[in-house]
Symmetry: C2
Subunit: 468 residues, 2 copies
C-alpha cells in the first residue's frame, strides 16, 4: 500500500530524491559546528549510591527513581522447563515514548525537521535526532522541565497528518520489552524553526548516514519506517548493477513470476516457526536475585567482566528541558557489529534476514541483520560457518561500513559497526532455517507493524536507503 498516496501533488519522496534547496550539506556542517560550540554540556561519572533521586529498593535491590517513573534497573531471569538457566540485569521502562519527525514539502521535496540533540551517553555529545524524542515522563512533565518543543504536532487536536504511527522495539539484550512510538507527521502551515533544528531532505539525511556517529538511533528507526514512493521507470536501469538490483528491491514484483524469493505468507510462517523453536521463557525478577553479578559503589558488573556495566553519571546541559540531572547508564564493553549480507537473486537485491531470539524482546524473536554481535563478541562467536568464513575472508563487496551510536539516553558510548556486504552467485541461496532472503520492499511492508524488525535491522535499513 502506498502510504503517501494521499500526499498533495507531485511530492518526491523517493529515498533518492533530489537535493534540498533550503540548505546545502556544507551549510549544514557549519550550522552543526555552531551548535556544538553554543552548547554547554558535561557528563561526569558518579557513584550509583550517590545518584540524586535514585535508590536501591530495600526488598528487591532494584535501582529506581524516587518518582516511580522513568526506568528501573531490574533482573531478567531465563527459564527452560521450569528451571532457571540464566539471569542478568536489564533496563525496564514500561512507558511508551514518542520518537517523531515532522515532515513538510519545500519545492516539491519532502523535508524532515531534525534536531541537534545532546544525550549524556553520546560519544560526541550532539547527534542528529528526530524532531521530538520524549519519554512519557518527559512530555507529561514528571521531571518538571519545560514543555517538549513541537510535541503539539504529534498529539492533540491540532496535530499534523499522520503518515507513520507504529510501536517499535529497542535493544532486546538490554531492555525489557521496550518499545517506542515511531511517528511521522506531515504539516503544511508555517513552522517556526528553533536554533537547535533544521530542515533536511531525505537525500541529505541519507548523505549524513555516511558520517560516523551523526544520525542517532532514534532518527534511524523513525526514518526506517518512513513511507517511500515506488521507483518509477526513469530510475532504472542506471548501468550500475548493484544500484539497479537495489532499486528493483524497492518495487513490488508481479505475483507469480516471483523475483522475490518468498511470498509474504511464507515469510510470516517462517517467522512464526522461529518463535515456536524457542523453548525458554523470560521474566523480571528482583535485581538482588541475579547471580554472577556484583553491585559495587561505582558499577553493577558481571564477575567475568564480559558483559555490560551499569554506571551512574551527573549531567549538566544548557539545551535540555532540565538543566542538570543524574541517572544510571548501561556501559557496554567494546563495540557491537551488525551486517546485512545482500545478494542479487534474479536481478533483485535480497537481504539475508535472521530470525534472532533475544531475551528482552516482547515476543522472543525479531528479524535482525544477517550478522549481529554484541559488544565483546567476536567473529568466532558467529555460529554459522558460511557467515564466519565470509567475515574472516573479507569477501564480498562492502557498500556501507560506518560506526553508529545506540541510544545515548540509556547507553554510555554504545557504538555499533553497521555494514552492508554484497555477495555473489557463489554464496548459497539455500540457508539454515533461522535465515530468510527478503527484498527491501518486503521489509518496508513489515514495518507498518511493530515487533517484526529489531532495532539493529531498522537502523541498517535506514542507511541502505541512502545507497539507492
Amino acid at each position: 500500500m502506498k502510504r503517501l498516496a494521499v500526499l498533495p501533488g507531485e511530492l518526491d519522496n523517493r529515498p533518492w530524491a533530489p537535493d534540498s534547496t533550503l540548505m546545502s550539506i556544507s551549510d549544514f556542517h557549519a550550522w552543526w559546528a555552531q551548535r556544538m560550540a553554543a552548547g554547554h554540556f558535561s557528563v561526569e561519572r558518579k557513584p550509583l549510591t550517590a545518584l540524586k533521586d535514585w535508590h536501591f529498593e530495600s526488598d528487591t535491590g532494584n535501582l529506581a527513581h524516587a518518582s516511580g517513573r522513568f526506568f528501573t534497573i531490574e533482573g531478567l531471569q531465563i527459564r527452560s522447563g521450569g528451571v532457571e538457566t540464566g539471569s542478568q540485569p536489564i533496563i525496564n521502562q514500561p512507558e511508551i515514548g514518542i520518537l517523531g519527525i515532522v515532515v513538510k514539502e519545500f519545492d516539491g521535496v519532502l523535508h524532515c525537521l531534525m534536531q541537534a540533540k545532546m544525550e549524556p551517553g553520546n560519544v560526541n555529545t550532539l547527534q542528529l535526532s528526530p524532531t521530538v524524542q520524549a519519554t512519557r515522563s518527559n512530555y507529561t512533565q514528571v521531571h518538571k522541565g519545560s514543555t517538549t518543543r513541537y510535541l503539539e504536532y504529534f498529539v492533540g487536536p491540532g496535530r499534523g497528518q499522520v503518515l507513520v504511527d507504529v510501536l517499535q522495539s529497542e535493544q532486546g539484550a538490554w531492555f525489557w520489552r521496550k518499545r517506542n512510538r515511531n511517528m511521522v507527521v506531515l504539516v503544511t502551515g508555517d513552522v517556526e524553526v528553533h536554533e537547535d533544528y533544521c530542515w533536511l531532505s531525505l537525500a541529505q539525511i541519507g548523505e549524513l548516514t555516511q558520517v560516523d556517529n551523526l544520525v542517532n538511533m532514534d532518527a534511524r528507526t523513525v526514518l526506517s519506517c518512513m513511507p517511500f514512493s515506488l521507483p518509477g521507470e526513469a530510475d532504472a536501469p542506471t548501468g550500475d548493477d548493484f544500484r539497479d538490483a537495489l532499486i528493483r528491491s524497492y518495487q513490488y514484483q508481479p505475483d507469480r513470476s516471483a523475483p522475490a524469493r518468498h511470498t509474504a505468507g511464507e515469510i510470516l510462517s517462517w517467522f512464526t516457526e522461529a518463535k515456536t523453536r524457542c523453548d525458554w521463557s523470560a521474566r523480571l525478577v528482583p535485581l538482588a536475585k541475579v547471580s554472577g553479578w556484583t553491585r559495587g559503589e561505582h558499577e553493577i558488573a558481571d564477575h567475568e567482566e564480559r558483559s555490560f556495566r551499569i554506571i551512574g553519571v551527573e549531567v549538566e546541559a544548557g539545551t535540555r528541558e532540565v538543566k542538570s540531572w543524574q541517572q544510571p547508564l548501561l556501559y557496554p564493553r567494546g563495540e557491537g557489529h551488525a551486517a546485512f549480507v545482500a545478494r542479487p537473486i534474479d536481478g533483485v537485491l535480497h537481504l539475508l534476514v535472521q530470525a534472532r531470539p533475544e531475551y528482552g524482546l516482547m515476543d522472543m524473536v525479531e528479524m535482525s541483520p544477517t550478522i549481529q554481535l554484541h559488544p565483546g563478541q567476536t567473529v568466532s562467536d558467529i555460529k554459522e560457518p558460511f557467515l564466519r568464513d565470509l567475515l574472516v575472508s573479507g569477501g564480498g563487496t562492502t557498500h556501507y561500513d560506518r560506526m553508529l551510536s545506540e541510544e545515548g539516553g540509556r547507553f554510555y558510548n554504545a557504538l555499533t559497526r553497521y555494514q552492508l556486504i554484497e555477495v555473489g552467485q557463489d554464496f548459497p541461496v539455500d540457508v539454515p532455517p533461522n535465515f530468510c532472503w527478503m527484498t527491501v520492499r518486503q521489509l518496508i511492508d513489515l514495518l507498518r507493524h511493530g515487533h517484526y524488525l529489531n532495532i539493529e535491522a531498522r537502523s541498517l535499513l535506514a542507511c541502505i536507503h541512502s545507497l539507492s
Copy 2:
C-alpha cells in the same frame, strides 16, 4: 492479498460456499451422537492439595507441575507510577501450542478435517475441534502419551501447503501473555480419517456455529484466520439489505471513494494511540503475594467472591492421548458476554471495534467486540451510555445470538454469550476514542498478524462468516 490465490483450480472457499457432498448435516449429527455414546469420560472435583504431580512451590506459592512444563498458576501484579494498584492469580503457559486445521478439496469445495474432542472443562464433554490441538508438551510427549494424530501435516518435511500460520492471543483476563500457533494446511493426497474426525465444508461449520456450545474456541480462532475468496459479482445484491451490506464488507473498496470509513493506516494509528493511553504495567509475581485472594484446600478464590476460582479435577477419558490425569482449571462465576454492534455505513456493514486493555495481554491492548463483559459483570458495568442503552432497550436487530464455550482444557464451564446486533441510521457514527468502525475485510487483513484481534473478537468473527 488473496492468500488462496495459489489454490488449485476453481476452488470455492467463500464463506457462503455450497454445501458438502461428503456428509449431510443430519449425517453429521448422527455421527456426533455416536461419538458421544462411544466415549468414556468422567471429570470429578479434587482438592488442589491432592492433585497428582501438582504442588504449591514453597518459596512462591505458585501451583506448578512436577515436570516444570504445562502451565503454572502464578500472581499478576498491576503497577501505575511504580505503585501496585491491583493483583490476581493468572495462568502462565509460556510454551506455544498448535491449533491446526487440515483442509482439502472435495468436488471443488474446501473441507476441514474436524475432530470430536473431549476437554475436561467442557460443559457438554465433546466439542467440535481443530484437526490438531496440542500444547508443545503434548506433541513433544512430556506427558508420555501417544503421538498427536495428524501432527505430521503441520510440522516437519512432509507437511501440507501452509495457508495460515500466525500466533494469536488467548484470554487476557485469565492468561499471562498466552498465544497459540493458528495454522491451516492444505493437503492433496489421501488422508485416513480416524473415527473421531470428519470432513466438513466451511458452510457446514458455519451452520454448526448456530448450535450452542458445539464449535469450540480453538476451532473458532483458526476459522477466523481462514483465508476467504472475495465475493464475486454473482453474490450480491441478494435483495436482503443486511446480507448485501455484509457481503460488501468482505470486499476491498476502491481507494478514494472510501466506503470503508477509515483507511488501514488510520486504524493502525488509532490502535497505537490506544496503547499509549495505558499508564499501567503488568508483571508476574509469586502467587503468595497476591492480596485479596485465599488459597483453600478446594479452591483459590477472591474474598469478595466476584471473580473466578482455581479448582482441581481428576479426569478419565478413553479418547485422549493420556487415559487419566489430574489438573487445575479456572472456574468463572457466571457467563461472559461479547457483542459486535454492526451498522451499514454507505451500504457497507461496519463493525464497531473496541481497543480494549487487558492485563494479561502481551502488549496491553487488543481489538475486542464492541461490548465485552466478563463472567459476573452485568450491563451496568458497561461504561459507555450509548452502548448500555442499546442493550437495556433491546434495540437493534440481532443476527447472531448463541452461547459458546471458551477453552475447555484450562477453563471449567466457561461460557460466553456471543451476539451480532445490527443498528440503524440513528446510531451514532462518531464514537469515543476507544472505538473504531471497521469492515470485515479490514479485520480479516489484520488477522494475518498476531495480537490485533483478541480471542473474543476472533470467535465472533468466525460466527459472522456463517451469516453471509
